[in-house]
């Protein structure tokens, strides 16, 4: 499979990378002691690493191309490669048992694993909901939102503040947090939703920063950067709970919220409004020409997306029992956005899988904590290059029609 030409190219590539990484990887200066440390061994690593990677990617692509060629020769129609996925996801006979098993595992999870594992799982599940929420805005309606974290912050602070000043409990604030975030979505949406694409992206990014800066600077309102601590965990009919119990409780609560989110988001996507969102993403002009109110549709996507961030924000505050503005930076928005895109824009299952991978993998890669973010960045690039449509591409609902429809009857209420 590997020809001499490949070897030559691999050599050239590794030469290029040796040159590229030379100053940063090899030279390390200490300006205080005025010494230079030449780390020649790094040059060797870079050369060997890039050589091997080149050949590996060559090999990977060659086998992929060969497969495609074979398919063409055998005249296999160019079916979408996710055929088994589509079937698995669309036939209840296939997916119901799988779903049952997953649910069973999820339910007994706290019985098997340590509190730490449960805690991580809660975080991952929070990101599942965040991903699903942003998915409505970015994946489904196609509005690039880089400031989603602002709504998350609104939710977290609404619990922290309402609890602090008015003593409102978790259950009361959970919907309020969601609604407040949705309200902010509308307030933000009004002026900016006429902007297109990248302009919208930078303005939402700015909005996210503005919210964070206000929380940071307006001490009388938010207690500034030192944050609000001692936020109560969620209660259960006033029961006293130990730490372990309350974490397990939060876990089940998150499971319930995830299921609720999937249920609602799924229904929304397959409704009149969901179709309008998809249409908006596909073609804004045609969408309007088909009688869809662009502004209203965008606003509904924005606020319904924000709603989930608000709810998760409340849970975030309850889980960490402490909020400060530093938790709501742009990086957070970027991570949620990555979940949506990696999952495959608009695909609920894809988003869930992506959220679990992106949140759980780094936790279990703690041993490599220094390289965690490096690997995270590289993974994003590689995923996009090799699989730009995400893990699972959108599955559209299929309809079965009773062929004996009395069309003449329908005709009447049509005119």
């Amino acid at each position: 499979m590997i020809s001499l030409k490949d070897l030559k190219n691999a050599f050239l590539v590794s030469l290029w990378f040796v040159f590229l990484t030379f100053p940063l990887m090899v030279i390390k200066v200490n300006p205080f002691e005025r010494t230079i440390d030449w780390r020649w061994q790094n040059m060797g690593y870079v050369a060997a690493g890039s050589f091997i990677c080149y050949l590996a990617s060559r090999f990977f692509l060659a086998s992929k191309a060969a497969k495609q060629k074979k398919q063409k020769l055998l005249d296999i129609p160019d079916k979408p490669k996710s055929d088994w996925q589509q079937r698995l996801l669309s036939e209840p006979r296939l997916y119901l048992p799988v779903l049952g098993v997953i649910l069973a595992i999820l339910l007994i999870f706290p019985q098997i694993f340590s509190t730490y594992q449960i805690n991580i799982m809660i975080t991952a599940l929070m990101y599942v909901v965040l991903g699903l929420g942003l998915n409505i805005v970015v994946g489904v309606a196609g509005l690039l939102d880089l400031g989603y974290v602002a709504f998350y912050a609104v939710g977290a602070y609404s619990y922290a503040l309402l609890n602090l000043h008015f003593g409102l409990g978790f259950w009361a604030v959970l919907p309020i947090g969601g609604l407040l975030a949705a309200g902010f979505g509308i307030i933000l949406g009004f002026p900016v939703l006429r902007l297109r694409g990248d302009y919208l992206a930078i303005v939402t990014l700015g909005f996210g920063e503005i919210i964070r800066l206000i929380l940071e600077n307006w001490n009388d309102f938010s207690r500034g950067p030192s944050g609000i601590s001692n936020i109560p965990r969620p209660g259960f009919f006033g029961m006293e709970m130990t730490l372990n119990q309350s974490i397990s409780y939060l876990y089940y609560l998150m499971i319930a919220l995830v299921i609720f989110t999937i249920f609602v988001v799924n229904r929304l996507q397959n409704s009149r409004i969901g179709r309008a969102w998809f249409a908006l993403r596909e073609d804004e002009i045609a969408c309007q020409a088909m009688g869809i109110d662009k502004t209203r549709t965008k606003l509904s996507a924005f606020s319904l997306g924000a709603f989930w961030a608000g709810m998760v924000g409340v849970i975030f505050a309850a889980k960490t029992t402490f909020v400060n503005p530093a938790s709501f930076t742009f990086l957070e928005s970027a991570i949620i956005l990555c979940i949506v895109v990696l999952g495959g824009m608009g695909s609920i299952i894809g988003v869930i899988i992506a959220a679990l991978i992106l949140m759980l993998l780094p936790e279990y890669l703690r041993a490599f904590s220094d390289y965690r973010m490096l690997v995270f960045g590289a993974t994003l690039v590689l995923m996009m290059v090799f699989c730009p449509l995400g893990i699972i591409s959108t599955v559209r609902r299929t309809y079965t029609i009773d062929k004996n429809l009395k069309t003449s009857n329908d005709r009447e209420d049509y005119t």
Binding site: F17, L61, T115, S226, G227, T242, V375, L382
Partner: protein
């Protein structure tokens, strides 16, 4: 062509990843958790604590452990983020830690404390200075071997007003948890003292490319002194621009600036800058011993909060030994009632959990070195 571009991407990631690597550890019986930022941009504040604990524990285990039990460290990273800190704390608690040294940042500490509190684990931070941690009374299991921000602000203000006789003071901060907290206290103390006035109170944006507008504003306020709350990167940018603008305003800052990096980065502009820091303990034999060991074992000067972390490790292990058990109540009793020998001399803890005998002194940069001001 398309092939070669795709392979490039695979390669870039792996080639650069391959070039680095890591390690881990094991043991038995008494478990001490070490929590703080060990990776990412704040790692330099967290890692010295790990090293300090390692050195102290090595000594103890060489002597046969505490009351016969070996001491084991559980090192967990919280990257100084509250949301991660709760996971770290749960991991330590479910791993069965007896005491925890950490966390490093106040925000992360606040998020983690309720978890330790419920699990009844004693926590001692070498670096979390937020006053509320001890003064609010919410965290009975929390101790620290560093003085709180208000004590530091008090030192700064007293020095500026009483020693330097400053009348107009500009209070600047970096909008962060630490810097802004300090600045608020400084402002409060100046106003309470009524001997000087706060002519300017501003937060700057950390990481901004240029601070000349703020500097012009300070110039216009005609302040004789600036009290800056924040860390050395911003401090060195501001002092550089102030001096370049030919202003000779006195610059007083905090422990985050009392760092040799500040002097090296700001160079000649650092001359004359005042900064508060823990009292000079370099002549203390314990301090000397551990600093030398650090040089020997790790081949470099110890980093931030190293002495405080050594103190915390000594105090905690000492308390477990004296208490004769790992029972938190027994340990707490020892901490509050008995004196321990640390790099800061003899210390014990008041009822809030602050170390008695750990305070701040004022330093000034003279000839490229911080020198304690008498």
């Amino acid at each position: 062509m398309n092939f070669s571009t795709k392979m490039f991407s695979l390669l870039s990631a792996v080639a650069l990843t391959v070039a680095f690597s890591t390690g881990a550890m094991a043991g038995d019986v008494i478990k001490i958790g070490i929590a703080g930022a060990h990776s990412g941009d704040l790692a330099s504040y967290g890692l010295p604590t790990v090293k300090a604990a390692e050195l102290v524990v090595k000594h103890i285990n060489e002597k046969g452990g505490i009351n016969g039990s070996k001491v084991e460290l559980m090192v967990e990273d919280d990257v100084c983020k509250p949301e991660v800190a709760t996971n770290t704390a749960t991991k330590l608690v479910s791993g069965g830690v007896n005491v925890v040294i950490g966390h490093i940042c106040s925000g992360a500490t606040k998020a983690a404390l309720p978890i330790y509190n419920e699990a009844d684990v004693i926590v001692m931070s070498p670096s979390a200075t937020n006053p509320a941690l001890t003064q609010s009374g919410d965290y009975p299991n929390f101790y620290r071997t560093i003085a709180s921000d208000d004590a530091q602000a008090r030192t700064e203000v007293d020095f500026a007003v009483n020693v330097l006789k400053a009348k107009k003071i500009a209070v600047i901060h970096d909008k962060g948890d630490y810097g802004k907290g300090l600045a608020e206290f400084a402002k409060l103390f100046i106003e309470q003292g009524a001997k000087a006035e706060v002519v300017l109170y501003e937060g700057i944006t950390p990481g901004a490319v240029d601070y000349s507008a703020v500097v012009q504003k300070i110039k216009r306020s005609r302040a004789d002194a600036i009290i800056f709350g924040g860390y050395h990167p911003e401090a060195s940018k501001i002092i550089t621009q102030i001096r370049k603008k030919k202003m000779d305003t006195i610059f007083i800052s905090d422990d985050g600036v009392k760092d040799n990096t500040f002097i090296k980065v700001a160079g000649k502009y650092a001359e004359g800058v005042y900064a508060t820091g823990p009292a000079d303990v370099s002549s203390n034999p314990i301090t000397k011993q551990y600093r030398e060991e650090h040089m020997k074992v790790y081949g470099s000067e110890p980093g931030a909060f190293f002495d405080n972390a050594v103190a915390a490790a000594i105090v905690l292990t000492n308390a477990i030994e004296k208490a004769g058990s790992t029972d938190p109540k027994a340990i707490a009793k020892v901490l509050h009632t008995q004196i321990a020998e640390t790099p800061f001399g003899e210390i014990m803890f008041d009822e809030k959990g602050d170390a008695i005998g750990v305070g701040f002194s004022m330093y000034q940069v003279k000839d490229g070195k911080y020198v304690q001001v008498k």
